[in-house]
């Protein structure tokens, strides 16, 4: 139906008046939004990758972006949702979108990239928004990739200041770059903190040297994620960064079950709002990747006739990646540390700290 909610029923996005730069898409000039009316609203179609729309991650966020756009009147009602269950589903799903008359196709996941490239070239009238890969150089495709490690770096700095045990843990679903980039940025942020403060905060589950770490090998095996997290908690970690959608939650379960004073770092959308209630107190902060907002903006631009093709690297400077507010940890985090964290982030925005280490796409 038209008002099908996204994967998680979430309160509206956080207010924009926080100190931290919220995710914003600077590529779309704000002032043009109220210009002359557009003839026709786009018909949106969303295609997931194999993780499906319930992945509590980029697919879910992409779809949320689409439904938000519909709700805001940037796209026609009843957007189409197509899940891919196999590699060979991408092409027919795209064709199904086209056959159903979609004029704006949103897809997520690097694996679909090539199928999109081919079809986008063949269908120049259709607009495409593509999440998590880039390098198309086509006017009708808007690519969204994220220099997530910039925000992750700052979160790492914060975590290093918050930890009491001096150990921070992380694990991911699979060693894919979109996952590892969170882990790598965080580890570098911790290292930066150590350098600044002369401390020895450890990161467990990711090694910057070997560029490899702790993975569950599955984005659905919840029980495995739980023990993976517990294995890291056993090493005395008290801040955890799980990166893998639904498999992030068992780590929260583990912390609650142990009754320890540990925190979680969220990924993608502000976990305080996006994730189930029982974990609310655990989220120290979220490393935000503004997929939903950017997808909505992209549809908005299409609807309003100020479409811009090409790629954007969402980064700290353009606000597409950032840190959420502290939410429930507001009282628990030392104000000085929080100020420092924001300063670190600002330094990244200003280019004084180069936190964009991880490659996010073809050069």
């Amino acid at each position: 139906g038209a008002d099908e909610p996204a994967a998680t029923d979430v309160p509206p996005p956080p207010p924009a008046d926080t100190d931290v730069p919220v995710v914003e898409d600077t590529a779309v000039p704000e002032e043009e939004t109220e210009e002359e009316p557009v003839a026709e609203l786009p018909i949106a179609c969303f295609i997931t990758d194999l993780a499906g729309v319930d992945d509590m991650s980029f697919n879910a966020l992409g779809w949320k972006g689409v439904t938000d756009a519909v709700a805001a009147g940037y796209a026609q009602a009843d957007p189409i949702l197509l899940e891919s269950q196999a590699m060979e589903d991408y092409q027919p799903n795209i064709e199904a979108c086209l056959n159903e008359g979609a004029t704006h196709i949103v897809t997520s996941g690097w694996a679909i990239e090539e199928a999109v490239k081919i079809n986008a070239a063949a269908n120049p009238d259709v607009k495409w928004t593509f999440i998590d890969a880039g390098g198309f150089e086509l006017d009708n495709v808007r690519e969204l990739v994220y220099q997530t490690d910039e925000a992750s770096f700052a979160a790492g700095y914060l975590a290093a200041g918050v930890t009491k045990t001096g150990v921070i843990g992380t694990y991911g679903g699979a060693p894919y770059p979109t996952v590892s980039i969170f882990m790598d940025g965080m580890a570098r942020g911790v290292a930066y903190y150590n350098e600044m403060k002369g401390t020895d905060v450890q990161v467990i589950g990711w090694s910057v040297e070997t560029a490899d770490g702790q993975f569950t090998g599955s984005f659905t095996d919840m029980a495995l994620a739980r023990t993976t997290c517990e294995g890291i908690l056993d090493e005395a970690a008290d801040v955890m960064l799980p990166v893998g959608g639904a498999i992030n939650l068992p780590c929260g379960d583990a912390i609650i079950a142990r009754g320890i004073d540990a925190a979680l770092i969220g990924v993608d959308a502000d976990a305080y709002f996006a994730m189930p209630e029982q974990y609310q107190d655990l989220w120290l902060i979220t490393i935000e990747k503004g997929i939903d907002i950017q997808v909505t903006r992209s549809l908005q631009a299409d609807a309003e006739g100020n479409w811009l093709g090409g790629g954007t690297v969402g980064n700290a400077a353009n606000g597409a990646v950032g840190l959420s507010p502290l939410n429930s940890w507001e009282d628990k985090v030392d104000a000085e540390l929080w100020a420092e964290t924001q300063a670190v982030f600002q330094a990244i925005v200003d280019g004084e700290i180069d936190a964009a280490v991880y490659a996010v796409g073809p050069e």
Binding site: M87, E88, P175, A359
Partner: protein, 407 residues
């Protein structure tokens, strides 16, 4: 040993001689109950499965369920509409257009190959759950040849397929070898080798030998034009020579099982390994050989996934769940090549139709899996279907398809 058969001699006139199947269908399929009879149960099974599927769709239609409380008739109508829309899409998606038909055949291609792989194993008393892993390894071998040899198409494709055959055969052969040498059961080793193959492929796709240059994601380089399977019905339809290869494989397996001495040995070992050993067959080597053949067939399916369709670039997901679907398929086809062909077409149709159903009726693809499971239940337990439709049973009906752990 029970002597339950000492009858023909003492009372030869009492037991009517069993006539060998006379019509062509029976000769080809081995189902000797005549045309109508042999199609009756599968058709009814499909029908019942679809009815159950409809019930599931209706009962999970939350809007209709909500409406049911206020307006019972309206709720029911809404449910019926939902089901109707879904099944119309399912049918037209699979058969309603040339494109649909082509998608059906396209989906059937790897299913047929892996179905044959599993069926061949069953015939020899081996349960190969490892078609997925064998596909992965076979596919990667084909990919290596595709990427690293610079050859004209007419030789490049066969060579890539050959590599897939070798890769799949080796991976399958490991299980055969372990069983022959140590007695480790193939059900376990093939499952484990599936996981191992998957992670191996994940790794291989991050090394320069396979990974697309300049990419950071585990995705392969493009298959060069010379190694791509040509499409047989033109660029608009995804059916490639993979289908022809699969059909050829079915014919080959038919020949292998019923016309070759190897097939004779396979079937002998499948029915009775002890007697086969007494007859001078090398049962242990045959186990390896069968698993090798089985793996090779799955390997070709892997090649099809790698070389067979746009965008000719792979991720570790290229085997999908095909190797598992194949088990159902081989069971459905009663481990007979002809049966497997029909089963593959049916499953292919469900796949293609399922996608259409998702697109136009927003029914999750998983419904197709449910329907598949139900079809197998009803075919495996024809009494169920007969009880529902009050069909009389045929005189004889028994196919031993699998064995326990003993083999």
């Amino acid at each position: 040993m029970t002597e339950s058969t000492d009858t023909n001699l003492t009372n030869p006139e009492k037991s009517p001689p069993e006539k060998p199947p006379s019509n062509l269908f029976a000769r080809i399929t081995g189902i000797n109950t005549g045309w109508i009879r042999s199609l009756l149960i599968p058709t009814l099974a499909l029908l019942v499965a679809l009815i159950f599927g409809a019930v599931f769709v209706a009962l999970t239609d939350l809007e209709a369920l909500a409406l049911l409380k206020e307006d019972f008739g309206g709720g029911l109508r809404l449910m019926a509409e939902g089901v109707g829309l879904a099944y119309k899409a399912l049918f037209t998606g699979a058969f309603g257009s040339v494109y649909g038909l082509s998608e059906t055949l396209f989906a059937a291609t790897p299913l047929l190959l892996t179905g044959l792989a599993v069926a061949l194993g069953f015939r020899a008393g081996l349960f190969n759950i490892g078609a997925n892993g064998q596909m992965l390894i076979g596919g990667m071998a084909a990919l290596w040849v595709a990427l690293h040899l610079n050859l004209p198409g007419f030789i490049h494709i066969p060579l890539a397929i050959l590599a897939a055959i070798i890769g799949g055969a080796l991976w399958g052969g490991i299980s055969g070898l372990l069983k022959a040498i140590t007695g480790a059961h193939e059900v376990i080793t093939t499952i484990m080798l599936n996981f191992i193959a998957f992670f191996l492929v994940e790794y291989l796709l991050t090394v320069p030998v396979f990974q697309e240059a300049g990419k950071i994601n585990p995705i392969s380089e493009f298959v060069p034009l010379s190694a791509r399977f040509p499409q047989v019905f033109g660029a608009d339809y995804r059916v490639s020579i993979g289908l022809l290869i699969a059909v050829a494989a079915a014919i080959f397996v038919s020949w292998l099982l019923f016309r070759s001495s190897w097939g004779f040995e396979f079937r002998a070992v499948g029915f009775n390994p002890t007697a086969s050993r007494f007859a001078g067959m090398k049962v242990q080597s045959l186990l390896v050989l069968v698993m090798g053949f089985s793996g090779a067939l799955a390997g070709i399916a892997g090649a099809n996934q790698v070389l067979g369709f746009s965008p000719y670039q792979v991720t570790s997901a290229f085997a999908g769940t095909i190797g598992f679907d194949a088990i159902a398929l081989a069971l459905l086809g009663q481990s007979h090549p002809v049966g497997v062909v029909w089963a593959a077409l049916l499953f292919g149709a469900l796949k293609a139709g399922g996608r259409a159903m998702q697109a136009s009726a927003q029914i999750p693809l998983d419904l197709v899996v449910v329907i598949q499971a139900l079809i197998i239940v009803f075919i495996a337990a024809p009494e169920l279907v007969r009880a529902i439709f009050r069909v009389k049973p045929p005189e004889k009906e028994k196919t031993q398809i699998t064995k326990g752990w003993g083999g």
